[in-house]
Symmetry: C2
DNA sequence: CCCCCGTGCTAAATGGGTTCAGCAGGGCAT
DNA sequence: ATGCCCTGCTGAACCCATTTAGCACGGGGG
């Protein structure tokens, strides 16, 4: 294939200078170039299939139409790949491209990744984490914009976070609406047991939302089970314990879908049916939520919407505030009215 | 923060010309610059924290230390995100960066993505698909390298694919080693029913491997069930049908883990235990394989290794051949010797 | 007739680096 | 003393675009 077409080729073909061609192709206002010049340049560019060299342009203008996406584990684990998907979509809509780097949370790799992104003159950087947390960010040039995605940082205040408080409330409302008043357990969190621990900013908000809705209805949990690792095996064991020791449990709020998956397995083992004997509501809307039988009703982490939002904020002037993205309720079949015993 | 340090700053500080500084920093051999000049330049660069501007260098050298990753749905779905993870890791090891684009298989978006990557002067492009298939690739400049990842293309012959044939054989060997000789079902594929259909190159090889191992042992499937959509719901229904109609079934080869998940649900519903009454082996090593109880033994898709390999091939001279990556057997607890009835 | 202004366009500087041709100056052979 | 080579370095072109200052020309006013 032939060499790439450059602006010089277009100018030559149009019989004008590169300056004229450049101004016309960029649609600069207030140039006094004639109508005819416009036509000749546009025709030449179209005919030759001219596309500007982004790097060369960036050298001059400091805009590369490229943004950096630095994450600990987001891009490459299934848990939060929606973040990157949303970011890619929004970037494409804005005719930008995304340079992706994963650091696994290692500060040295993070620093190196940022330096490498700056070497490539990115217009801005999105910092994403899997578990919303305070993220260390090295110094950036003033001209480099930054947006925190599912993360917070003291210096870079523009953050995109899920609206966990409202989401937490929604989960409780689902059970209450179905008629549950007592016999509700919380699986995965016990404020008492975790007083000294801090999971993440968003988990704290989720729990606060859950408790506020519960309070509002004058209700309280019959049981709370602290679980540090939110995986199916742990959920299974804890649910089994709860259900055995406390036969009055009729509903469960699980802190994530993998715990809920474990709870399903425990219920099955005890011969309890979901949702007939046990209603379950959960958070995240993981892949497995749709695979479970019956389908798991869950309050979704809006990863794609968050990724989109982050890019949109980055490309507009970042506004230095927290941007909360609504968590949609995904209703499936895991909630029913309590059986009257 | 101050303006970026340029080569001119380094040269000035070292009291030498930019040319000298450039040659020294790039470690050019056969320049006759003095030992002392080397030391002065290196010291100046280190002291100022100089990093070359990749875009500017690329303009001259046509090397940007950046590669493009174009995929249909790989990056952003949990199914194959390992591909991107491996690619990112290998790129980082080679001090390269990755520009990611998703096209959802839309040829227009694909063409646009490739053009945009070329605008950014990438050194090469990896084309990845979720389901290994023949992928259309528009014209590329001769200088742009291409590697197909989980895909094949007539013009660009360098491909990275999972070694499905050997993987298929391995799945059968697992059952045979456990003592299974008859009552084995195949869930998800029936050559008879799918004569006219073509899923993908790799599925064909997987099936060929399965059949070759079976033949070698003089065995054959007691039952084959064609399923077009390999999802849990479909697996559940098909497995339920098979197990009801054919009580002699003692083992199942599932074409993927989601089908196996459905088979687990069907077995549970029929009061059969895995692996006591029914052994199950499967493919992919999805997230759910580890979550199931008992753990699902499965032949893994080596996504990360494939992503790595693709980058390595791209950065060396691509060799115009298919590179097969071994599929590791992940042994868990879903296979046991057949109960003697 | 001269000056001024508006119109339509171009030359040249710029961004940050790489690379090639070649320039000074010292040492050596003739 | 002349010519030549070797050493150690620099000037300038080049990559591809953007941007600013200003040139040439024609027309109108004084």
């Amino acid at each position: 294939m032939a060499k790439r077409v450059t602006l010089a080729d277009v100018a030559r073909k149009a019989g004008l200078s590169m300056s004229a061609a450049s101004m016309i192709l960029n649609g600069r206002p207030d140039t006094r170039l004639s109508q005819e010049a416009h036509e000749r340049v546009n025709a030449a560019a179209a005919e030759l299939g001219y596309r500007p060299n982004v790097a060369a342009r960036g050298l001059r203008t400091d805009k590369t139409l490229t943004i950096g996406f630095v994450s600990d584990l987001v891009a490459t684990t299934r848990f939060a790949s929606g973040l990157i998907k949303g970011a890619l979509e929004a970037a494409e809509d804005a005719r930008h491209f995304v340079l992706v780097a994963e650091t696994e949370g290692d500060p040295r790799r993070e620093e190196e990744a940022i330096a490498a992104l700056l070497d490539r003159q990115v217009d801005g950087i999105i910092f994403a984490t899997m578990r919303a947390r305070e993220l260390f960010v090295p110094d950036l040039p003033d001209s480099t914009r930054a947006v925190m995605l599912n993360a917070i940082n003291a210096r870079h205040r523009t953050s995109v976070l899920p609206d966990e408080y409202t989401g937490g409330r929604a989960a409780v409302e689902l059970l209450v609406d179905a008629g549950h008043r007592d016999g509700i357990a919380l699986l995965g969190q016990s404020d008492e047991a975790e007083r000294e621990l801090f999971r993440s900013e968003t988990v704290a908000r989720r729990v606060a939302g859950i408790r506020s809705a519960l309070d509002e209805h004058g209700l309280s949990f019959a049981r709370e089970e602290s679980i540090w690792l939110w995986e199916p095996q742990e959920g299974y064991e804890a649910a089994l314990r709860i259900l055995r020791e406390d036969p009055g449990i009729r509903a469960m709020v699980c802190m994530n879908d993998r715990l809920a998956f474990g709870a399903y397995q425990a219920a099955a083992e005890l011969g309890m049916s979901v949702p007939g004997d046990l209603s379950i509501v959960s958070f995240d809307n993981d892949e497995i939520a749709a695979y479970l039988r019956p389908g798991l009703t869950t309050v979704a982490l809006p990863h794609e919407a968050m990724g989109r939002r982050a890019v949109e904020l980055l490309l507009r002037e970042p506004d230095h505030g927290q941007s909360l993205v609504a968590m949609p309720v995904v209703e499936r079949e895991s909630i029913a009215p309590p059986a009257h015993s």
